[in-house]
Amino acid sequence: MDDMSGLTYNVPIGPQHPALKEPISLRMTLEGEIIRDVDVRLGYNHRGIEKLAEQRNWVQNIYLTERICGICSHSHTTCFVQGVEKLMELEPTKRGLYIRTLVAELERIHSHLLWLGVAGHEAGFDTFFMYTWRDREVVMDILETISGNRVHYAMNIFGGARRDIDDQQKARMLDDLQLLKKRTEYYFKIGATEPTFVARLAGVGKLPKQTALSLCAVGPTLRASNIPRDVRKDDPYAAYDELPFEVCTADSCDVLGRVVVRVKELFESYKMCEYMLKNLPPGPINVKYPRRVKEGEVVSRYEAPRGENIHYIKSNGTDKPERLKVRAPTLGNYPATLVMLKGAFIADIPLIFAAIDPCICCAERLVELVDSRTGTERTVTFSELRQKAIQHYKSLDLKKRDSAWPL
C-alpha cells in the first residue's frame, strides 16, 4: 500500500449517531485531524408543516405550530398568535400578556439550563450535566403547576392566555426562583473559574463579528460576537416594553462567550420573572376572538431561546390560513456553523455543533479516501487498515523498558 500522507478523508457523521439527539447528516472532509470542508444535509426532520397548516383552521394551527419544536414550543405558538391577533385587530388583555411573557421567560430558563448541561456533557463534564438537569426539573415542576404539562404547555389562545395563576402558585414560584438563583451563581463560578472547563472551551469555534453579521446569524451565537441584537429590545412584543432588562453580550466570539451570554441571560430572566410575579395586573385573562380573520398579511417576530423566530402569515378571509411561513432560529445559524467548523479539530466538533461524538466505533466502517495528489478515489476496508497498523508497529520495533513480566 502506498504512502497515505497527504490524503483527505470523507467521513459521514449521522443521521443516527452516539450523541446526536436529532437526525442530521454531516459530511466532513478531513486532513489529519483538521476539518477542511463540511457539508450539511438537512431534510430528515422535514414534516411538511407549511402545507399542513393550509388545511387546518386557525385554532388547530396553534397546536400544529406548538409541535414544530419541543424545547421552544411556546415561542412558536406565541409568534403565531401574536401575528393572527394583529390580523384580527384584537387587543389582548394586560394580564394575558403578562402570563404569556412569564411562561416565555420560564421556557428560556429551562432551555438555557438544558443547553448548559449538554455543553458540559460534550466537554466531558458529566457532573455539570446532572446538576443542571436536576435544576431544570424545578422549572418543569413550575410549568406543570401552571399549565398541566411539562412540555407543550398550551397557554396561548387568541386574545390572551388560557389559564390563570393564583396566589399559592405565585408564592411557590418566588421561592423556587430564589433557589434557582443561588444554584446558577454556583454554575457561573464553575464556568468562569474552573481552569479545565475554561481551557476546553476558550478559542473553540471562533466566529468573527463581520462574518456573523453577513451570514445572518441569530441569538446567543450572534450576541457572543459582541453584536447587541435582541428582538425583545429592537421590536418589543407582549409585555417586554414594560419590563426592565438588558441585552447580554460577550466579546470573545467563541464557545466560552456563548456560555457566558446564556448564563447572563439566565440572571436577567430571573429578574424579569420576579418583576412580573410581583406586578401581575388584575383583570380577565382573555377576550373573545372572531371566527373569521380579515384578509391581510403580517410579519411576526419573537426572541426564542435560540435566536430570532419569524412567522409570516397571510390570510384570505376564510377560516384557514392562505400561507404560513416559519423560519426557526437554528436554520439561521447553519451557514455560521459551517464556517466555524472549517479549520477546527475533529475533537471540537461536539462543542461546536453541541451534538456530535467524534469517537466512531463500529466494525466494518467504509471510509472513502481521495488521493489529493492524483484525485482518484479508493475504498479501504477495515482489514486493510488493520494490516497496515500491524506492519507499522512491527517496523517501529518498540522495546519494553524495565518491564517486570515477560511479553
Partner: protein
C-alpha cells in the same frame, strides 16, 4: 431611525421604480419592486440603513404569479421587499452577492416552488428527500397529496 425617514428616503431614491410602500404597523414596512430592480434596492437598503440581516424569504402561490417576499431587519425596523414573477417563467435573481446568508432560504424556495434562482452559489435541494420525484413542488396550490392506505399491523 424611524419608519417615516426610511420611507421618505426610499421614495426619493427610487421614485418611479417602487410601486407601493405601506406602513401598516409600527416597525413594519412593505415595499413592492419590479423583478429587475431587486438587487439595486437591496444594495441601497444594506448600505444606507444597515439592513444586513435577512430573516427569511417566503414564497406565496397566487395562481397566475408567484409572489416572493424578502424579510430584512435592522436594529429598529423590519422591512419586507416584495417581487412577483409569472408562473410560466419563474426566474428570480439571487441576492447572495448582497447578503451571503440568504443562500439557504433561496435553496428552499427552489425546492418547494420550483423557482429558478439565477447565480445562486449552491443550487442543490435543501429539504426534500433524496428519492423525491422531479417536477413535484409541494407548496404550489395545485399540488394535492393523496395519503396512501395505511396497513395496521395485526389488524384487518
Amino acid at each position: 431611525m424611524n419608519d417615516e425617514k426610511i420611507i421618505s428616503r426610499i421614495k426619493e431614491q427610487f421614485q418611479d421604480k417602487t410601486a407601493e410602500v405601506t406602513n401598516p404597523a409600527p416597525r413594519r414596512i412593505f415595499v413592492k419592486v419590479d423583478r429587475p430592480d431587486l438587487l439595486a434596492v437591496t444594495r441601497f437598503l444594506r448600505d444606507t440603513f444597515n439592513f444586513v440581516h435577512v430573516s427569511t424569504i417566503s414564497g406565496v402561490d397566487k395562481g397566475e404569479v408567484f409572489e416572493i417576499l424578502y424579510h430584512l431587519a435592522n436594529e429598529s425596523c423590519s422591512l419586507t421587499v416584495r417581487i412577483t414573477t409569472p408562473r410560466n417563467e419563474p426566474k428570480v435573481p439571487s441576492i447572495c452577492e448582497v447578503i451571503p446568508g440568504a443562500v439557504l432560504y433561496e435553496r428552499e424556495l427552489q425546492d418547494m416552488f420550483g423557482l429558478v434562482i439565477e447565480n445562486i452559489p449552491d443550487p442543490r435541494p435543501l429539504l426534500l428527500p433524496d428519492d423525491w420525484p422531479k417536477g413535484q413542488y409541494p407548496l404550489r396550490k395545485d399540488w394535492i397529496f393523496e395519503r396512501p392506505e395505511e396497513k395496521i399491523p395485526g389488524g384487518g
